[in-house]
């Protein structure tokens, strides 16, 4: 709302909003700055944000990991799982979104209802049912449960997000392609896919961050130390019996949120628009 404000009111506004912002990110700042403090000063100087003495020791110590695996292994595992499942999500969700938004066929309404219903069926409800089923399939102890389902558009949220985006593309383009003799398959890959890139970028970031943070699946399905993704490794590392200390734990925690934070900072605008247009959990 555009209203005329007195300059002192404007200044007061910025002071208050900036103070609120500082409180919001304070916990994260505390984690980042503490990770650069000498380990024995972290708790005694807990209320002091900026370190008096800076050190990289926590990072060097923490990176060594535990049980013979460095954090390099855990990061690679997380990247592998998050990237492959995100690729599957994008591919399958955009195919299904195209069908539900643009094509007429029998059963379409039911399918759309089912897609929406998957948004109400979160992983926490499915954890026991899926675990038993994957156990039947002999998938426990492999990455299959954490990757394969995502190639089958099981997250209604992404289908819905891409459908909304396709809805904004003029139908004339499809019609023109049809007149030129393009099949629906060609139309999808040549016309639709290039045009929905912005929706794919938004989806990719959310998918990547959710898969990266996914602790529950790792807890259920990963048995071998060499296969641990960062979420599970961090939780185990936090246990003092792994030989970690508060310094190295905070250092590795800080590193683990770097990918999500960087993605967020780069794509801030499209993320904000993605949420505003579909409305999702967070």
């Amino acid at each position: 709302m555009k209203t005329e404000r007195k300059p002192w009111k404007e200044v007061l506004y910025h002071i208050l909003v900036a103070a609120g912002a500082l409180i919001m990110v304070y916990p994260l700042l505390w984690m980042v700055f503490s990770s650069f403090k000498p380990v024995d000063t972290i708790l005694p100087t807990a209320k002091q944000l900026i370190p008096t003495e800076w050190t990289l020791r926590n990072y060097i110590q923490g990176w060594k990991g535990f049980m013979g695996y460095t954090f390099g292994t855990f990061f690679l595992n997380s990247f592998f799982i998050s990237l492959t499942s995100t690729f599957g999500t994008l591919l399958s969700s955009s195919l299904v979104a195209y069908a539900l938004q643009r094509l007429q066929f029998k059963g379409k309404k039911i399918l759309f209802g089912l897609v929406l219903s998957t948004m109400m069926l979160p992983a926490q409800i499915l954890m026991i049912p899926q675990f038993m089923w994957y156990r039947h399939l002999n998938w426990v102890g492999t990455y299959f449960p954490m990757i394969l389902p995502y190639f089958f558009a099981i997250q209604g949220f992404f289908v819905y997000l891409i459908m909304n985006f396709i809805d904004g593309i003029p139908k004339d383009l499809d019609e023109a392609a049809k007149i030129d003799g393009c099949s629906y398959y060609v139309t999808f890959f040549r016309i639709i896919l290039p045009l929905i890139v912005p929706a794919l970028v938004t989806s990719a970031i959310f998918s990547f961050i959710w898969r990266w943070d996914d602790y529950l699946s790792a807890l259920l399905y990963v048995n071998r130390a060499s296969m641990r993704p960062i979420s599970l490794a961090l939780q185990l590392f936090n246990d003092p019996s792994s030989g970690s200390d508060i310094g190295s734990t905070l250092a590795m925690s800080t590193l683990s949120i770097v990918p999500a934070t960087v993605l967020f900072l780069i794509f801030q605008k499209s993320l904000v628009e993605g949420i505003a247009s579909t409305g999702i959990k967070g």
Partner: protein, 308 residues
């Protein structure tokens, strides 16, 4: 078979393949397979197991309604866990939505810095689900942690408060969920932008001041968004898992034992045998409860949501 009939068959297939109705089904195939393989079959399987005694090691044995009867009549931990979860949802969700609304109203302001503020307030929502934040939260609220250090500076007498005692522990988790109001805030901001200026101008001409304009123009027009956020966040808080599992693991004395954590502990106990059948029954009860709550929220919609 002659060449001609082969040709005709191929063209028949091609024609079928390129029909709109076929293409629609082929494009939908990933979801159809995924829905069957990863949702329907597991759900059906767990429904069957919920009527069985099943410890994973030995084959399941059919016991009828026994799991359900035991849950509702004998299981004190079940009612405790349900109580904790409802308490968390009932307090955490409204607080989160109110916070989101207030901050959205404050940030709905024409200034160049607003993008920066919006991003900063939203950042906790983006990384709040991570294990790193769970670890951080635990450390911050420890008796010698940051929170107590800061509190003792403001209130000199206050030192070593035990945040993980039976009373306050749930509040550590409530504060964590309220902290992540960012995505609801963004949804509010985008609906605030859609309220036509003319409405405010008309209200001003009628002599409405700022507070009146808020209660008679802004708030009614925001009710659909409030409803949407309320439904979404209620479902989320009913199903919180990672943070409670990692920060308090249900303790002390089950005072933060979320339903999902209880269910996990039954299926994968630290000691003793797994009770998969029992856990399946718990999962189905939760599904019914969540659907019921959602249904009730939708039923209440016409009472207070203003649809233009």
């Amino acid at each position: 078979m002659s060449n001609r009939s082969l040709e005709r068959r191929e063209s028949g297939f091609t024609r079928w393949f390129h029909k709109e109705s076929t293409a629609g089904l082929i494009f939908s195939l990933p979801f159809i397979i995924g829905f069957l393989m990863f949702l329907l079959i597991p759900m059906a399987l767990s429904l069957y197991y919920s009527f069985c005694k099943y410890d994973i090691q030995s084959p399941p044995t059919w016991i009828g309604l026994d799991n359900y009867i035991k849950i509702f009549t004998k299981d004190k931990t079940f009612s405790k866990a349900l109580g904790v979860t409802v308490y968390f949802a009932l307090i955490g969700t409204p607080l989160k939505v109110i916070f989101a609304l207030i901050v959205a109203l404050i940030l709905n302001h024409e200034t160049r810095a607003v993008g920066f503020y919006r991003a900063t307030y939203y950042l906790p929502s983006i990384i709040g689900g991570s294990v790193a934040v769970a670890i951080l939260w635990r450390r911050m609220f420890e008796s010698n942690g940051t929170i107590n250090a800061i509190l003792s500076t403001i209130f000199p007498g206050m030192t070593g408060f035990n945040w993980f005692g039976e009373g306050p522990a749930i509040w550590v988790l409530i504060i964590l969920t309220v902290w992540q109001f960012g995505s609801s805030m963004l949804i509010f901001l985008s609906s605030l932008k859609q309220i036509p200026m003319e409405l405010y101008e008309a209200a001003s001409i009628d002599g409405a001041n700022g507070i009146k304009r808020f209660f008679h123009v802004t708030l009614p027009l925001l009710t659909p968004t409030i409803f949407f956020n309320l439904v979404q966040q209620t479902i989320n808080s009913f199903l919180a898992f990672t943070q409670s599992k990692l920060i308090t693991n249900g303790g002390p004395r089950d005072s933060t034992l979320f339903y999902t954590v209880y269910q996990y502990n039954k299926a994968f106990p630290a000691l003793g045998k797994s009770q998969m059948g029992y856990a399946s029954a718990l999962a189905w009860i939760m599904l019914v409860i969540v659907s019921l709550v959602t249904f009730l929220l939708f039923k209440s919609r016409s009472k207070w949501v203003y649809d233009a």
